[in-house]
């Protein structure tokens, strides 16, 4: 496609729509003969500039002297003026003659037309006769056409059926091919035990057409939209701090963009990265800036100290240990001094999460404990590292009362944590300096 002329055309149209283009110049109205004659009379009246009345009264002698001295110039001016008036007068006469000729020609043509009229009447009569004959023939043809149209409609309906059947057959074949490819790939994959397998999971998902399946899986297990909105709202004030620094917030693993949408509503400059095309499409449909890229590759491509804050909600548990460390190293490099890092992940110290629901997701690598995540953040050089426990089950708020035994009470509290306690935790850390 030759883009440049198209771009120029669109730019031009937008400018015109916004009223920025030059306006066309207006055309002067036509000048009439009466106007010309009026101007000519004015010229003739003032043409004889050397025949001015003799001055009288105060300084009349001086004025006469000036007139006499300038008379040789005024004489020449009179000649020019009279010649101009003569030319103009001639032009007006020519115009009048042309008009007269035109009027004469009009009359001549009117006469000729009068002669044509009877012939036209005769032709019209012939035409009417032919028309009636044609109408008769058309009626006959219409009856034949109606029969053909019925036949064509039936043929069209059959073609439509065949076409739609082909679409269905194509989708069936597509589904079978995908299934076959998945099975073959699963059966022949040589590196099932490779600890870096998760780094290839995005590519695998795409190759086997499973991105959409993962999106459906994720929808099945995710909390409701209202719950997510409420949860993400908690991060907005922290991440919004970055806006004042003029550096954007980066959401790694942005998914459908729920957090980005909350940030946009709060006026925070932000964008996201995700490797799942279906998720990226959903986010783009919400008008968000989400790019389909590998998270680590994206971090490596950024300038040092160019990002105001980074969040990665439920991402760390998808990464093998060495990639998590690489991500933290890169995050520290690209954050501005004082910039916040938020890592949220399932809380395995809640045993229901750690022992069961964590494993619902086959792309989880292994659970990450709060102690470990906190340690690696400090070890990589982050400061002000804080662990926040989030989203307990409703039963966690229940008042347990006392059994009368200190040991039993403590055990009950531990059980309450282990079974109904926070389902997630977040580590919030900052790049040293700047605050």
């Amino acid at each position: 496609m030759d883009v440049n002329p198209t771009v120029q055309l669109i730019e031009d149209l937008v400018d015109r729509a916004l009223g920025r283009a030059d306006r066309p110049t207006t055309v002067s109205p036509a000048v009439t003969t009466a106007d010309l004659e009026r101007h000519l009379a004015a010229i003739e009246m003032n043409a004889r500039v050397d025949e001015m009345p003799q001055p009288v009264g105060r300084y009349s002698t001086l004025k006469r002297l000036i007139l006499k001295l300038s008379s040789f110039v005024l004489v020449r001016q009179r000649t020019v003026n009279l010649a101009s008036a003569g030319v103009a007068s001639g032009l007006i006469r020519s115009m009048d003659e042309i008009k007269a000729e035109m009027a004469h020609e009009s009359k001549r043509q009117a006469g000729a037309l009068a002669g044509i009229e009877p012939r036209l009447r005769s032709a019209a009569t012939q035409h009417r006769d032919m028309h009636e004959e044609t109408v008769e023939r058309v009626r006959g043809l219409e009856m034949q056409l109606a029969a053909h149209e019925a036949l064509v409609a039936e043929m069209r309906a059959r073609i439509n059926d065949v076409e739609a059947t082909l679409v269905l057959e194509s989708s069936r074949r597509h589904a079978m091919e995908r299934s076959l490819v998945s099975r073959l790939a699963a059966a022949s994959r040589p590196n099932a035990g490779d600890p870096r397998i998760a780094t290839e999971s995005a590519g695998d998902l795409e190759a086997f057409g499973l991105h959409e399946m993962y999106e459906r899986f994720e929808s099945w297990f995710r909390p409701s939209d209202a719950t997510l909105r409420q949860r993400f709202e908690e991060y907005v004030p922290l991440l919004a701090e970055a806006t004042g620094q003029g550096a954007p917030v980066l959401d790694l693993g942005a998914g459908r963009g729920e957090l980005l949408l909350r940030l946009r509503v709060a006026g925070v400059d932000c964008y996201g990265v995700d490797s799942n095309q279906s998720m990226v499409d959903r986010a783009l449909a919400s008008g968000l800036d989400v790019r389909r890229e590998d998270l680590l590759e994206h971090l490596r491509s950024l300038r040092a100290e160019s990002i105001g804050a980074i969040c990665a909600i439920h991402v760390a548990e998808h990464l093998p240990p060495e990639l998590l460390l690489d991500m933290l190293t890169e995050a520290l490099r690209v954050l501005i001094p004082g910039g916040a890092l938020v890592l949220e992940t399932p809380n395995p110290t809640n045993l229901v999460i750690g022992a069961a629901s964590f494993h619902n997701d086959p792309t989880h690598v292994h659970p990450i404990t709060p102690d470990y995540l906190s340690f690696v953040c400090k070890d990589r050089g982050f400061a002000e590292v804080e662990t926040r426990f989030l989203h307990p089950f409703p039963e966690y708020e229940l008042e347990l009362g006392s059994t009368g035994s200190v040991a039993l009470d403590a055990l009950l509290r531990d059980l309450q944590w282990a079974l109904k306690g926070p389902q997630d935790f977040a580590v919030v850390a900052r790049r040293p300096g700047g605050r």
Partner: protein
């Protein structure tokens, strides 16, 4: 006051036109003189702003060039005599007036939220579409900056205004109430006989998924009510989609496409050999009430719905609803397992949900009661109050 309502005339009478009718009546009852200033949205010269667009170029993005033509018509309107201007569908918010209230229900969606979908469906030339989308967003941003106050038709629309246009201030919400006026007398409420879908057959309403679902629940009858550009195509699908449906049929291929138009009359009354689905086009309030009264549930398979008035109307009369997880604004009032079911956008998932409700009368009643309760929040009293607040915001 003299109030001018600026509205592109699309020569259809849909839900939005009925909303405008209500508001016009409300303003007239309040003593205002209201004039609807319309312009033919279909007839635009292929010379927007004096630039001749040849047929080849026009065909590369008819939505874009048509929009420019409509934009030009808007800018040519003389609205000096109006005390207040209420704009409606795009690009009518491009009119210029010092007291301008925008009743904003949607953008020109193929260039906004539906943009990735129209590209994937092959409806547009991608490179040209990208250029056109950027141009339209620039125009709309400029127009939006001249609007005094925006009444956004629902939370989803308000979110799009923020994310696409950066419009946060001077925006409030307008929640239209049910329009059909259908009610179900208890005496007429009988045993359920069918699964119901009330929707236009247009992209991206995805009524194709309802046809697919019908094939997967042979023990249930289905009824689809509505008209639209894809009616012929959907009816054709009903004819050719037989009972031998593979479990993992690529549902997206059924609706994410740009098929040629099919004349519904060419299908006649013929149905597929295993179809339990009947189509009805223009139904009156009585017939709709009858269909609601005997419905197991209402299925709304639409993608990214702007608002969901039809779903609200069904909920108002106590019908549980089945919607899809990417149903847009529907998810603002449908809650899974409370007043309806939220499912994957596939025929299989829709069929499973409809069958679940059909086989469990207790669940149907429980969901239906909660649906009725949810719908009570959406009344015209509330809508008119929200509209009056919008007028106050502009006039102050």
């Amino acid at each position: 006051m003299r109030i001018a309502i600026v509205k592109p005339d699309w020569q259809i009478r849909g839900g939005f036109e009925l909303v405008v009718d209500r508001l016009v009546g409300h303003m007239r009852r309040a003593g205002h003189r209201v004039d609807i200033i319309g312009f033919d949205a279909w007839r635009v010269d292929h010379r927007p702003f004096g630039v001749r667009i040849d047929d080849e170029m026009w065909s590369r993005s008819p939505w874009f060039f048509g929009y420019l033509g409509q934009w030009e018509k808007c800018r040519a309107l003389r609205l000096d005599r109006a005390d207040l201007v209420v704009s409606t569908q795009p690009p009518s918010f491009g009119v210029e007036h010092p007291r301008h209230l925008s009743l904003f229900f949607h953008h020109l969606r193929p260039f906004y939220d539906l943009s990735p979908y129209v590209v994937r469906a092959g409806m547009v030339e991608p490179e040209m579409h990208e250029l056109a989308a950027a141009a339209i967003r620039r125009l709309d941003d400029a127009a939006m900056s001249g609007v005094g106050h925006v009444l956004a038709g629902g939370e989803s629309v308000a979110e799009r205004l923020v994310s696409f246009n950066g419009r946060r201030s001077e925006v409030s919400l307008f929640h239209a109430g049910p329009l059909s006026g259908v009610s179900i007398a208890e005496a007429t409420r009988g045993d359920p006989t069918h699964v119901l879908c009330v929707s236009r057959h247009d992209f991206p309403k995805r009524t194709e998924l309802f046809v697919h679902a019908d094939r997967l629940m042979p023990e249930l009858n289905s009824v689809a009510v509505g008209v639209g550009g894809r009616l012929g195509r959907v009816r054709q699908l009903d004819r050719v989609l037989d009972g031998d449906v593979p479990e993992v049929i690529a549902d997206e291929q059924l609706w994410l496409n740009d098929p040629p138009w099919v004349d519904p009359s060419s299908i006649g009354d013929r149905r597929g050999p295993t179809s339990n689905l009947s189509f009805e086009t223009h139904v009156g309030g009585d017939r709709l009430g009858e269909l609601y009264a005997h419905a197991h549930c209402l299925v709304a398979p639409a993608l990214l719905e702007d608002y969901g008035l039809t779903v609200l109307e069904a909920m108002k009369v106590g019908i549980p609803v089945v919607v899809c997880r990417d149903g847009g604004h529907l998810l603002h009032f449908v809650e899974h397992e409370r007043n309806g079911l939220i499912v994957e956008p596939t025929g299989k998932a829709i069929a499973e949900a409809a069958r679940r409700i059909a086989n469990d009368p207790g669940l149907r009643e429980e969901l239906g009661d909660a649906a009725r309760e949810t719908a009570t929040a959406y009344t015209w009293e509330r809508a008119l109050h929200e509209f009056d607040l919008g007028i106050e915001a502009v006039m102050s």
